[in-house]
Structure formats: structure tokens, C-alpha cells
């Protein structure tokens, strides 16, 4: 294993019969996939030729494995290329052939032999209630596995909304106390790659960046790589012209829906969702939800499950007993103010009518100047 780890990507590729020309083409492709300008190609080539490959441990916690499903469907660069060539994926309990105690042994050995060298990829999150019993792997709580593996990791990649912000298992009322990785692991750099799942090319792009440059990509306030989460779905949406025009779909089967108008009034979360769906798209760039006539549900945003209903523009405010929007609450408050005003005015008029315009004398200020101001 050690010899393999010290190899560079170029060496591995040439061992597999990849010639120089194809290697350069490969480097150009991943440079583009990372959203970098073509002037960076030479740096990528240099990194691929000189940097030894990094071991990766890929953990699975409380999750549905949609991130893995997405990842293995990546087209640029092929996930296969990454897994086989650029990283040394030494532990991934859903992809690897080995099972049982054997794999857990591999993980422990990796931690011991390469402390501070391996990259930890986490899919899913850890339930924390009742000692973390709601998710166990090989007899150990996932919380323990996570903390133990994170302790000696070089950096952590939090795959998907589960690992980056909690997703469905952390939605109200969060019965298992599920918490995202960055809230549990401290003192380690964490890259959040949210989405349910994240786009395959985004996942491979992030990994490629870390492996190529041996540093973290630039992150935003939520710890997401700016290169993929720097813009909202709305900013590059193909229906944006209809948004600006004020032409909105009102019903799923109306004329606007047929004309491809904006889905804002159908609850589209594009204006509040940072993701690359409208530029990279899904399934090798075939389409994305809005392209197919359905609004974005904001799957890469914090608390997106709690910010429902999905088919309503604004999130409901969960008041005990009533489901209402901020605007309903506002209308009720304004109504209450109007009623109060009317009641006061009514009594004012009634008092005048009953007792005439006998005004009360102003109070004498000299009596109640009170304490010194």
C-alpha cells in the first residue's frame, strides 16, 4: 500500500498505459471541471506529475447514499478515473469488496499508518441523542467512528446536505439529535458540499481540486467551495427572463407552464439556493429540475426541509396549532392594530357625545416634576 501511495497520478496513469497526450487532455478536462481558467492547466499538470496520491477514507453515517449514487455517475472527470487514479480510496464500506471486521481493520490501520495524511470524506451525519445509538457501524456508534477518524485526518469533506447541514434527519423535531459534521468535529478544516445529493461533477471537482493543489478551495460563509456555490440557481436560470418580465406559472397546467415561464409563484427556491444546477446541470448536463418544469426545492440550503411547504413561495412559520406564513401573521397584527384604533376612537366619540366637549384640565406640572431628571 505504501508504494502505491507514494506514486503520483501521472505514474499510475502511465502504468495503466495512458500516454502523455491523453494525460494532458485529462488534465485540461479536470481544469475546466474545477471551473479554473485554461492558464491553470500547466499547474494542474505539474501537480499531477509531482504530488503523491492521497489516501481517502469515505465514511457513511445516517444517510440514504444518494451522494455515492450521484458520485459514481460523474462524467467529467469520470469518477472511475478519480477513484482509481487520483486518490487511493482505501475505505468505503458501500463500494469496497471487503466486509466485516476486515474493513474496520483497514480503517484503523490507515489512521495509524498515515496520521495527518489522509482525507476524510463523510457522507451522512451522526445522531447524538442517547449516546449516538441510532446509527452504529460494526458495533461502534457512528459518532465514535467519525470522531476517531476525524482526529488524524488532514481535512474533511462533508458530502451532501446530511453531512453539511443536517438534511431530513435533522429536520424538526430531529428525534435522533442528528448533527452535521462541522458541528461535531472541531479544529479540522471541513469543506461542505451540500445538495441532496450534490451534483456529481461538483463532488469530483472538489476532490480534484484538493488532490491537485493539496489545499482547500476558497470557501464561503457556510464553508462551501465558492467555485460551485458562489451563485444562486436563480442567477443562471434559463427561466430568469420570465422572472424579470413578471411572467409566472400560476398552475401546473396553465398556459404559462406550457410556455416555460418562471416558477417563482409555484414555490421555486432558486432565488435562495446556492448551487450549480443551472450551470452544470444534472446527469451529464442533460437537464435540471427547473429545466423540466419543476421548481427548485433548495436541497442544498440549510433547513430546507423545515422551510416548506415546497409549493409555496415563503416558508410557513410553525406557530403552535396553526401553519401560517409571515404575511398572514402580519395581516393579523395589522388587523388587531386597526381594531384597537377603532375601539379607542369609538370610545372617544362616545365620551364626547355623552359628556360634551368638557375638556379635562391639564395636570399641574409643578406637582409632579418628581425626581430630578
Amino acid at each position: 500500500m505504501d508504494r502505491r501511495l507514494r506514486e503520483t497520478t501521472y505514474e499510475v496513469l502511465s502504468r495503466h498505459g495512458v500516454d502523455r497526450r491523453r494525460f494532458l487532455r485529462y488534465c485540461t478536462m479536470i481544469t475546466a471541471a474545477m471551473g479554473l481558467p485554461s492558464s491553470m492547466v500547466s499547474q494542474v499538470v505539474q501537480a499531477m506529475e509531482s504530488k503523491p496520491r492521497i489516501p481517502v477514507i469515505w465514511l457513511h453515517g445516517l444517510e440514504c447514499t444518494c451522494c455515492s449514487e450521484s458520485f459514481i455517475r460523474s462524467s467529467h472527470p469520470l469518477a472511475q478515473d478519480i477513484i482509481l487514479n487520483m486518490i487511493s480510496l482505501d475505505y468505503d464500506d458501500t463500494l469496497q469488496a471487503a466486509a466485516g471486521h476486515q474493513v474496520e481493520e483497514i480503517r484503523r490501520r490507515l489512521i495509524e499508518e498515515h496520521p495527518g495524511e489522509y482525507l476524510l470524506a463523510v457522507e451522512g451525519n451522526a445522531p447524538t441523542k442517547d449516546g449516538g445509538v441510532y446509527c452504529t457501524v460494526g458495533g461502534q456508534t457512528f459518532l465514535d467512528v467519525l470522531l476517531e477518524t476525524a482526529e488524524h485526518a488532514k481535512a474533511i469533506v462533508a458530502w451532501g446536505s446530511c453531512a453539511s447541514n443536517g438534511c431530513v434527519q435533522a429536520a424538526r423535531p430531529n428525534p435522533t439529535g442528528a448533527r452535521p459534521v462541522h458541528e461535531l468535529v472541531h479544529g479540522k478544516p471541513v469543506i461542505n458540499v451540500p445538495g441532496c445529493p450534490p451534483i456529481a461533477e461538483v463532488m469530483t471537482g472538489v476532490l480534484t481540486y484538493v488532490l491537485t493543489f493539496d489545499r482547500l478551495p476558497e470557501l464561503d460563509r457556510f464553508g462551501r467551495p465558492k467555485m460551485f456555490y458562489g451563485h444562486r440557481v436563480h442567477d443562471k436560470c434559463q427561466r430568469r427572463a420570465f422572472f424579470d418580465a413578471g411572467q409566472f406559472v400560476e398552475q401546473w397546467d396553465d398556459e404559462g407552464a406550457r410556455q416555460g415561464w418562471c416558477l417563482y409563484k409555484m414555490g421555486c427556491r432558486g432565488p435562495m439556493t446556492y448551487n450549480s444546477c443551472s450551470s452544470i446541470k444534472w446527469n451529464n448536463g442533460v437537464s435540471f429540475p427547473i429545466g423540466s418544469g419543476h421548481g427548485c426545492i433548495g436541497c442544498s440550503e440549510n433547513d430546507f426541509w423545515d422551510n416548506g411547504p415546497f409549493y409555496q413561495h415563503l416558508a410557513g412559520v410553525p406557530l403552535p396549532g396553526v401553519e401560517s406564513t409571515p404575511d398572514t401573521i402580519g395581516k393579523i397584527a395589522a388587523g388587531a392594530a386597526a381594531v384597537g384604533v377603532a375601539a379607542h376612537f369609538g370610545s372617544f366619540v362616545a365620551k364626547r357625545a355623552l359628556f360634551g366637549d368638557k375638556e379635562s384640565k391639564p395636570a399641574d406640572a409643578t406637582k409632579d416634576t418628581g425626581d430630578e431628571a
Binding site: D220, R221, F222, G230, H231, R232, D235, A241, F242, F243, D244, A245, G246, Q247, F248, K265, R269, M272, T273, Y274, G298, E301, N302, D303, F304, N307, H313, L314, A315, V317, T325, P326, D327, I329, G330, K331, A333, A334, A336, A337, A338, V341, H344, F345, S347, F348, K351, E359, S360, K361, P362, A363, D364, A365, D368, T369, G370, D371, E372, A373
Partner: protein
């Protein structure tokens, strides 16, 4: 101390005297603010629920874009006006500061209580040339407090198309603080209704107060002068 805000020349019975209370920067602030809130709220309602449906192709229709532009323009006017008012809090006369909640002064609390009782009992009671404690508190909570919240959440939403830009750097922290971009929107909507609640109460109480105390309250926001009668004594004793 209290003599500063007392009317000096008491008019003979049956006559009014007037005193210059609201300096022009306060009046300008007031009307710009009123206009900005009106435009911001109505354009905000449209952005929330765009009910106009322009026909035709979108290449020359910009209804939503125009309404948003108006909303942003008036938001900037609101902010500048707001900053201007804060500046005048320090530079203006004592009345410009009379709305401040002097919570550490017993006399302020007493005035707050008395004013509430006076309003509820529909009596004249105590007079002020500046703000009474209740009015001052309402302005502080609804205009200054809500104003800040609305400015912060609004600018954070405004910055969203360019998180690395000037506004994003300045107020982008509001988004993680609120939890998510959606949460910022929800708060912005809730706070907006606060201005409506305030406007209803404010407009009513101004008419009521002007009628009850015969102080020319409404015209004072145009002319700057408030009226008082022989028996009226300025009760702004808690303003130093």
C-alpha cells in the same frame, strides 16, 4: 435642566403661543421616511406576490425587474435618510432627542405610565412639546429598531446575487446568523408588517393627540411649530 424645554412666554387665556420644535432636518426625515416606507411596502408586496401578468414575449417586459429596481432605490433612500436622522439626533435641538428611551430615569417611566393612562382614559392630562415617553418608545422600537432589522435583512438579501461584493462583505453575516437565506426572507417579511402596524397606530394617535391637546401636531410636521395655551405646561421634565 428642565427649563430648557419649558415654553417661556405663556399666552394670555384664550390665546395660543407657538414654539419652534421640529427643525427642518427632522421634518425632511419624516416625510422621506413616510414615502420610502410606503413605496417599499407596496413594491415589497408585489415582489412577494407578483399579481400583474404582462402578456407577450419577455424580451421587452420588465415588470418584476422594474419593481425590484424601485424597491432597491427606495431602500437606499431609506438607509441614507435613516443615517441622516441618527446624525441629527446628536446635532439637533433637545426635541430631536426627546424620543430617546431614558430607561434609567424614573421620571421617564413615570411619564410612560401617565401617558398610557391619559390615552386610555381619553383625558388631556400631561402636555409635551417634544415626544412623550410612550411616543418616543414607539418610535424607537418601530422606526429605529425595526428600521435596523429591515436594513440588515434587506441589504443581506440585496447582496445575494454577489456574495463577494461590497454589500455581501458588509452584511452577508446576517444570513448564517438567521440560519438560511429563506429565514432572512421570512424575517424581512415579518418586520415589514411591523411598519404597517406602526403606521396605523401612528396616524391615528397623531390625529387624536392633535385634536385632544390642540397643539397643531399634524401641521407641526410641516411648519415645525407646535402650539400651546395658557394652562399648558411643558411636561418634558425628564429631558435634560
Amino acid at each position: 435642566m428642565s427649563s430648557i424645554s419649558r415654553p417661556v412666554n405663556s399666552p394670555p387665556p384664550g390665546y395660543f403661543a407657538q414654539k419652534y420644535v421640529w427643525q427642518w432636518p427632522i421634518r425632511v426625515f419624516h416625510w422621506i421616511n413616510a414615502l420610502a416606507v410606503l413605496v417599499l411596502f407596496s413594491s415589497g408586496l408585489y415582489i412577494w406576490n407578483p399579481i400583474l401578468v404582462p402578456a407577450g414575449e419577455p424580451w421587452n417586459r420588465f415588470v418584476m425587474a422594474t419593481v425590484r429596481k424601485i424597491h432597491f432605490a427606495f431602500a437606499m433612500i431609506f438607509v441614507v435618510n435613516f443615517v441622516w436622522r441618527i446624525y441629527w439626533f446628536w446635532m439637533g435641538n433637545n426635541y430631536a432627542r426627546s424620543g430617546f428611551p431614558f430607561v434609567w430615569r424614573r421620571s421617564w417611566w413615570r411619564d410612560l405610565f401617565r401617558q398610557m393612562v391619559d390615552y386610555l382614559k381619553l383625558e388631556r392630562g400631561h402636555r409635551h412639546l417634544g415626544h412623550n415617553a410612550l411616543g418616543g418608545l414607539a418610535y424607537t422600537v418601530f422606526v429605529i429598531g425595526l428600521g435596523w432589522l429591515q436594513i440588515l435583512t434587506g441589504l443581506a438579501l440585496y447582496s445575494e446575487s454577489n456574495p463577494d461584493g461590497f454589500w455581501g462583505t458588509l452584511v452577508g453575516w446576517v444570513i448564517p446568523l438567521a440560519g438560511s437565506s429563506m429565514a432572512v426572507r421570512v424575517w424581512h417579511h415579518l418586520f415589514a408588517w411591523g411598519f404597517i402596524v406602526f403606521s396605523i397606530l401612528h396616524v391615528y394617535i397623531v390625529f387624536y393627540d392633535g385634536q385632544q391637546y390642540r397643539n397643531g401636531l399634524i401641521s407641526s410636521m410641516i411648519s415645525g411649530y407646535k402650539f400651546y395655551e395658557a394652562d399648558d405646561i411643558d411636561h418634558d421634565t425628564w429631558i435634560s
